[in-house]
Symmetry: D2
Subunit: 448 residues, 4 copies
């Protein structure tokens, strides 16, 4: 751990490019002054935020350290309260002692941060501050507590009960559509015409909004209403494709979900969003029967690159022979030739051994390989399976864009939300068996 900022201040060091850290600390302390009203506290917090806005990156890091080190809990007060609580256990005073313990524990930092909520832009300020701070966490452990406190505060403020689900359509404000274009994280929106296509009459787009970040979708999902399960992203992004006939649409495909606020990392909205959207769609379209995603497999290629030797070893002899025949060469342990052949996915027909192999590998990646915490390796799989969805179908060349090819050789997957089985699926996942359809299970059997 590096030297405490406070120690440096005490030594009179001012490492912050001429910036008066002591004065800033004093201002932070004045925000907390219990003698002033909440309104006045908010006014002071706003002034701090203004000063922060003018600070350099280096000065901002100093701010974070000040907030970390100078507003931590009072250890001796905790100790005393804790002792009193233990003494009171079982007595008449236990309940009151618990209250005192909690009070003792509440770090001044908590009250400091809460003061920022008292002026209009304060929540925005804290969310942006955390977005800026997050990339520094790995390098500077001193910031962990501040980050955690922010996340906890945001979890309460941005509780799903306070979120408003709003449909985003072509009749939404242009400034909001512009934000969709900017924030879309899965399949880039290339133009306003592309955005309009995604807000067409056979599409639905919903976002969660919060009263303290008005006009800002915290997360949004794009849905296509289709006759059948979507097998490829291409027609969905085709601006010229005709709109589906809504009276015959039985399937809702969630084809893009994007979080927009880096500063809200760890505060989860996605599960609720999908469930609220499913409810909303079922109310509007009674005939919808199937709710599923068409999702990327962002980590597939990186994982295969790393695991290729092991995967080859798990490949049964028959499939190995077929691969060698197809490649016209023996398989090297590092599978270099095979991986190279996969670069030409677009040319592999349904009988191709390489295609069979890749599908088997992808099924294993999604459904059998779990991280140390017992959850799927793939970030997107982790999200949907965690919500109770199951792996339904793997789709070949479903995303032929450079990004799609780079991430997963163009493979995409449908996760199915079977509303009556979400809890059963979650239970299976908890037992280390991500639920999957028979078809995907069958794909897996191509590997040992």
């Amino acid at each position: 751990m590096r030297e405490r900022l406070s120690a440096m201040l005490e030594r009179g060091v001012d490492a912050f490019g001429g910036w008066n850290a002591r004065r800033f600390l004093r201002e932070l302390q004045q925000v907390l002054d219990p003698a002033v009203s909440e309104v006045e506290g908010g006014r002071r917090a706003a002034a701090v935020a203004e000063e922060y806005a003018r600070a350099t990156p280096q000065q901002r890091r100093a701010c974070w350290l000040l907030m970390s080190e100078h507003f931590s809990p009072d250890v001796s007060a905790i100790q005393a309260a804790h002792a009193a609580y233990q003494a009171a256990r079982g007595s008449e005073d236990e309940s009151r002692a618990e209250v005192r313990l909690r009070r003792a524990f509440t770090a001044p930092r908590t009250r400091l941060l809460q003061r920022f909520s008292a002026y209009p832009g304060g929540v925005r300020f804290l969310v942006d501050l955390r977005a800026e701070l997050l990339p520094h966490l790995a390098r500077d452990k001193r910031l962990i507590a501040l980050d955690d406190e922010l996340q906890e505060l945001f979890s309460t403020w941005f509780d799903v009960g306070f979120l408003e689900l709003r449909r985003i359509s072509w009749d939404s404000p242009a400034s909001l559509v512009e934000k969709l274009i900017r924030y879309e994280a899965v399949h880039d929106i290339r133009s306003w015409a592309d955005a309009k296509n995604r807000l067409d009459e056979d599409r639905r787009c919903y976002g969660f909004f919060h009263p303290r970040l008005p006009d800002e979708p915290l997360i949004f999902v794009e849905v296509a209403l289709l006759h059948d399960m979507a097998r490829s992203i291409t027609p969905l992004l085709d601006e010229q494709a005709p709109a589906a006939d809504l009276t015959r649409a039985h399937t809702a495909i969630f084809y893009s979900i994007s979080n927009t606020q880096a500063g809200l990392r760890g505060v989860s909205f996605g599960d609720s969003l999908i469930k609220r959207v499913v409810e909303t769609l079922r109310t509007e379209f009674a005939q919808l029967k199937v709710f599923a995603t068409l999702s990327p497999i962002p980590g597939l290629r990186r994982w295969v690159d790393q695991q290729a030797p092991a995967l080859l070893r798990a490949t049964p002899a028959r499939l190995r022979q077929a691969l060698e025949r197809e490649l016209g060469a023996p398989l090297a342990p590092d599978a270099a030739a095979l991986l190279k052949a996969l670069d030409g996915v677009a040319t592999l027909d349904e009988r191709s051994a390489a295609r069979r192999w890749l599908l088997a590998v992808a099924a294993r990646y999604l459904g059998r390989e779990l991280a140390d915490d017992g959850r799927p390796l793939d970030g997107v799989a982790r999200f949907h399976l965690g919500n109770g969805a199951r792996i339904e179908q793997l789709n070949w060349l479903a995303d032929p864009s450079p990004k799609g090819l780079r991430q997963s050789w163009g493979l995409m997957v449908n996760y199915l939300y079977d509303l009556r089985r979400l809890d059963r699926h979650r239970a299976q996942l908890a037992q280390g068996k991500p639920p999957m359809s028979h078809a995907v299970q069958a794909l897996q059997t191509d590997l040992l």
Copy 2:
């Protein structure tokens, strides 16, 4: 302390009128189940709330105890985390240890209560539960921690930053005006015509609303726009009185402030409300110069009844003689005759000694007598002086209603909000010197 409910359950006692407390406990625990999604947790919380709604008062008390005793913090986990935190102080791991300590400390009760926010009526449920619980606190200390946890949760949820200030007018929903009639706590609204008068063009009424308790004013204030400082509540409540000429209105009088949600006790909105309303009025009416209240003095009479002997002793000889002349009899130590004479306030003219004495006593009560916590004795004085207002003017027979006579012999007081001096006034109050005008100071000099 009475027996722990858990102990009773273990003994197989079921004291709750045939109600299955064990099953209810199990249901509460299932709300908390970390394996289920937030949406499912919310669904379970809603089911618990429905069961609670059907329970008897006795059963409800059992619910509170279950929530108090079975979801308190894990003492040994806190102890371990606390030890680890102390060990890590100053080391690289201090920040991470602080996070762990906070995690250990978070009582399961906190998470349990938060789950209730996940379904639409959940916040309403908790607020009503606390309103029901509050009267039992004094008698059953076991409930203190639950109450405190609720208050803390509400303080975050109902943070003023999340409140919306809305004007309430005669064009507001009838159902909302009906709530004003029901909730008005200072000067009863006697009829719809009375309500209409208070929402007339020379009046303003504002309330704070929260997204989770829609259509429910958490607190509201009634304001009259006048040419001069109001000296009596009578013309303000007179439905026949003509509306003031707004172009000549220089004074805004806050003549009634009512909190509506007993369950939100301890969560303070009033200070912010007044400041936001002042801002709003200044924007709409640039010519407004004076912002003040016309307030009751609810505790005056009770206090005088108790303190009469001491007050008499503090009465200088001259005034005593004048009183005796006026009463036509010597003053007894208990001031019985004087207090009896005050029943006839309506007949006491400006030269009356009894009137002089009562005004002096009222000025002392408001401005010099402080409670042990250093704050004014009178609840209303505590609120306004705490906000930075000052005692401006005492008004004789300003509220001749039975309630007004009963509380304070009809006396009312104006608290002045001088926006440039709020902080100075708060500082004076903190030093034990409630700020007051020269006129009120002068009244006081009639007592030693």
Copy 3:
């Protein structure tokens, strides 16, 4: 016809209490000045309206005459244009000649009145002006053209296509509920509690609103959702009666329809209102099967009083004898004793001959007696039968209020809106045969 106002002005007579009619005429002419912009014309119209607001009733009558006489069509221009049009018939210029004829015909009064629509309160002004003028029409035929022109203008402005159907509920503005209380014309609303009962969850109230008379319902209807056909108004107006179970409600009863703007007489909204409300209710409550009214028979008693001798003559001998037995006396030709007996309707049981007679007479009044224009005598019958409803059921003592007894001995009638037969019913009515149920037809057979 009295002397033309213009002639009086020419003679220098100024019969209008010192009011300068010539100047007012000049101001009206300036409103019309084709050289000024529409905005300026509107400004001038607003000034005229302000002056009118200050005028005495006598002066206002003079205003109407000025508007009647000084802005009528230019006869010679019409003559010329008419001749030209006839000459052009069949030629290439016919179409253009028609345009010129229409232009020639448009009275300056039309353009004058239209100018009033150009400022915000102008439409309100004209509607109120006509409301004031209407009672004078019968006495002063000179005003007929002005009235007709206003009605025609209103018919275009208040075209149903421009009306907005809005639900009025207990969540509607208090100021709007206050208007319901004021405007209700069928069953007086006695108090706010009465209003609340009519806006309860098992009720619906809808009004038509127009953008130029904001917050003003032009007409509104009160509907009760019930399990069966309503037989009496009493339970509907009973504030203590429990709300009906909406899941079992199959019948929508329209129990009050009130026009609010006397100035819009002759501009009909009622037909559209009922049809739009029926559509709206069917969308919200798929299980509704029956749409009917519970209506007063306002003209019954007056008609029976006039027609008693003829009705007695049409009474068959059998019923006459039963009546005489019941009355204990022979029937006089003027039916005085019978009518007197009917004052005690509340005591007449189901076998009473007087009751039978009155029901037969009422059935005839509603369904067989037509006015010279071929439409029903009774105003309410005229409205509902004209809309395509049929007479469904007569209800004894359905409105025991003094007004109900005075108008129709407490009798009320249900008109049934059978949506698939509205046009068929209208056709029957056009043939002089108001449609009625078998039950009501059967009642009639008691008369010759």
Copy 4:
């Protein structure tokens, strides 16, 4: 005039490509059926509109003829009513006779068209029908009456009193911004970034909306808030240019006004729009002092091309000599060389004789040359001068776009709206003297 369609129908000719014109006529007549309710009439009108939507252009022309010829006024009824009116003049019955005359005159076509307003899309249908019909008017005079009747109906329906002024901003619906892009008629909007620039914080855009054409701006104006009078359109359309400092903005420049509905030709909104926008801006920005346009001069070049010989003749000798020096050749009567030189406007400096000549010619074109109806030749000048603006300033090379150069060699003009002088200016215009600033008057003196 061609044969009447009715005659053709009578002869059994069906010239409309197999389309059953007789049936269509019958359907039109059924729309009018006085026996059906307004709601049913509207339903029938909607069915007619649907059939029309499927018709070919040729069939649509036949529709117009049917509507023109078969629903014209009843000549003999008019004649009789007219005679009766003349007879009644001065008698008691004059007023009633006037009513009858108006009734007789109302063409069935009026009632037919009004029925279309009774269903939601009906107004849209008629506006689009007229937009389609207008280009045929010149070739087929039979359509004039139908067109005129539509315009008159629209004038009542779209009366400015019924229009709602709404600000259009970057927070307006994307679908509305898309319409701006499509409808902008003066300076093409090239991209969404261009649209965003025009809705930036230093800009204002307002449109008139009508309840029956929702989400459709009938007309809109784009305004820039600037420090000084705008001399060129270039910086206003520059997406990179920084926004003006609003606190220092004293000038509002209307730089684009576009009508969007061809079908509403002849129904004027522009005058009201500008006045309402000026009012709105003055409320929002008290410091605005100058309201002016930056307008194209669309007809200048065409007029100069036609009038060149006459203009040359009006050029005083001195200027002619300067021109010849500058051109290096004598002036031909057709001014060919001069006009050719003007193609190089970008190179003509302030001392250029050609530049002087062109400015003088433009000043004359705008301010001295009037059409036969006494109004300015130039369409844009006609509009603004008709509203009471004056010609304020001519701007050299203010619009260097190809369109600007083609229309007016890049010249643009500011029309000034001096609110206190609008009526005075309109009076000057009515006297044939379009008002102009001294500067523009001075330019003119360069011509005889």
